[in-house]
Symmetry: C2
Subunit: 354 residues, 2 copies
């Protein structure tokens, strides 16, 4: 059987103050109908057993996720007591699914990405599931680049794989500088690392044994069925012991048989404010204006107001975002530094703004 | 006797959204104790007959001004049914004072300026009153420039006058461009036009007769004592008939005997947002930060928050101002264009923000 494993930890801090700890990015309705996380599930629902799928989220967000992902039983929406990055979360899901179904195949889905072409996505997923099952490969979806993006990791594709549409992964490449990203774009052999992975539960667990023995050891604590007291206690111990490590660094870069399915699915991770220029309509001067705003003699701005009026005069390529509790102003090319604001808020013991 | 005539119309729209129609600039406490208008009165109180002084303000603001200027009797705080610029307002005050006291001397004071050196101001005023009385001159205070300001009009001083510290006015000069302002600064003979005028009521009325006959004709309607029904009815007719004209253009530029008292009194008209960099403390990067704010890697900014948090990252020389109802963002060198925002708000029928 096939399952979805939705990773809904984190809160999208680079989209602060639109996203914030108590209203994280995956709960926002950025495009289309419904929250990003609800759309994430709806997109794969026809391909997987929804009732047996799993969601990993922050303990504080679990109740909201239960509401939002109603077809998934509450027992299968796991609240992580602490975040340990992606590898432990996926390993935990693999252990649960493998115990229930020795042939379990699953797709790992970040809860807060936009995918506009659902049909193309499902087609790519079908190819990926096939490769994951028949070749026992670790499969990743690679997004064909459309711009020299410096905020994503890249996957360099190698030789064609056994099936159509599948390529061996030659290497994973860190976020490049602008010039390198330009070369990747022209080269054609590089794909954006989408963070969407497909594999058999048993195959992934074997890779965890080999490359992340501490995670594998911690997994021993996880026993019983989700929702039982025994399971909950195991989760507590697991998250107490497992080291924080990403699946990219901990597994993908080290495993032998890793393949990529290149695809064009209208994907965007909406990682930071400038992404809204890509997913929301712009005026003739390239401004995105959402909410009550007056934007004069400005170009390429992202102006967002949830409450109250925002007036912007004579500025280019800045982000101005107003919520009931906070206003952010920064140039688009400094949008990643919104993290520093969030850090500073934490340091000062200030709330994140309403 | 000496009197003050305080001009408290207008609301300081270039300081929007900090100032707004229902909370105009003259009611803000920008520096020192109390509102700008209360400080305006306190500054001259020892030199004039406070109970017989006059205030001209917008009809909608009259009640607030009565509170704010408590030593002045309510009857002497005149609500203008419509704004007609400065010449009619001052002519009206001159008519009232001349009727009460044929030797009335008065100082015209804008209600929303900052003057930090009260002693120097009072000394300059004493010189000005003397010249206004003994020479029957129209006297203006000229501020010694400290920077090549392009937002002020200038007064070119000519030959020394009869008394120490008084000079004939050679000409009034419109707002100059940067280069010209630089020359004025070096020249030493140019002074900022402060909008503070001193003269005898009868002398001013005679100038109005000569240069503004329409205003003089409209003045005929003004009869009776302030506070009486007859007076109020006259005011209505006067403002209905008088043309809108500034005292600078309508009288000062045309009158014969105009003199200037150059002075250094810590004057600032706080005309627009960048002025706050001059009157409020700055951090080592030249940022002015007022209210709850996080300002990272930015210089020369003016960041103001009345409510909620403002976060600014990676920007230079911008103004960011947040109130309960609105956020303004613009470069300092576009600060005069805040007017365009206010126009746009009016056009769209939006409120000015809370």
């Amino acid at each position: 059987m096939k399952y979805a494993v939705i990773l809904a930890g984190g809160w999208g801090e680079r989209l602060w103050p639109m996203s914030r700890r108590e209203r994280p990015k995956q709960l926002l309705e950025l495009v289309g109908e419904g929250s990003l996380v609800a759309q994430t599930l709806a997109r794969v629902a026809p391909l997987v057993s929804v009732e047996d799928s799993l969601v990993l989220t922050g303990a504080a967000l679990r109740d909201r996720m239960i509401e939002e992902l109603e077809p998934i039983p509450p027992a299968r929406i796991v609240g992580e007591p602490v975040g340990r990055n992606t590898a432990p979360a996926i390993a935990l899901a693999a252990r649960v699914l493998a115990a229930e179904d020795p042939d379990a195949l699953f797709v790992v889905l970040p809860a807060d990405h936009v995918i506009r072409d659902t049909d193309a996505f499902r087609r790519a997923l079908a190819v990926a599931f096939e490769a994951a099952d028949s070749e026992r490969a670790l499969v990743t979806l690679g997004i064909r680049p459309t711009r020299p993006e410096t905020e994503y990791g890249y996957i360099k594709a190698g030789a064609p794989g056994a099936a159509d549409g599948v390529f061996e992964v030659e290497s994973f490449v860190e976020k490049p500088d602008r010039e390198t990203a330009g070369r990747y774009l022209l080269d054609g052999g590089y794909h954006w690392n989408s963070g969407i992975f497909i594999w058999r539960a048993d195959v992934f667990l074997a890779e965890v044994e080999r490359h992340l023995p501490e995670v594998a050891a911690a997994l021993e604590a996880v026993e019983g069925e989700p929702g039982t007291v025994r399971f909950e206690a195991g989760i507590e111990r697991f998250y107490g012991e497992a080291p924080a490590v990403s699946v990219d660094y901990g597994v993908m870069e080290k495993a032998d048989h890793v393949v990529v399915v290149p695809c064009e699915i209208g994907w965007d991770d909406v990682g930071a404010w400038p992404a809204l220029s890509r997913i929301w309509p712009t005026d003739e001067a390239g401004n995105v204006v959402e909410g009550q705003a007056i934007v004069l003699d400005s170009e390429g701005t992202v102006v967002y107001s949830e409450e109250g009026l925002v007036a912007v005069v004579g500025l280019s390529d800045v982000v101005v975002a107003r919520t009931a509790g906070a206003t952010l102003v920064c140039p688009k090319d400094r949008a990643r530094d919104v993290r520093a604001v969030v850090e500073e808020l934490k340091r000062k013991g200030l709330t994140e703004g309403g």
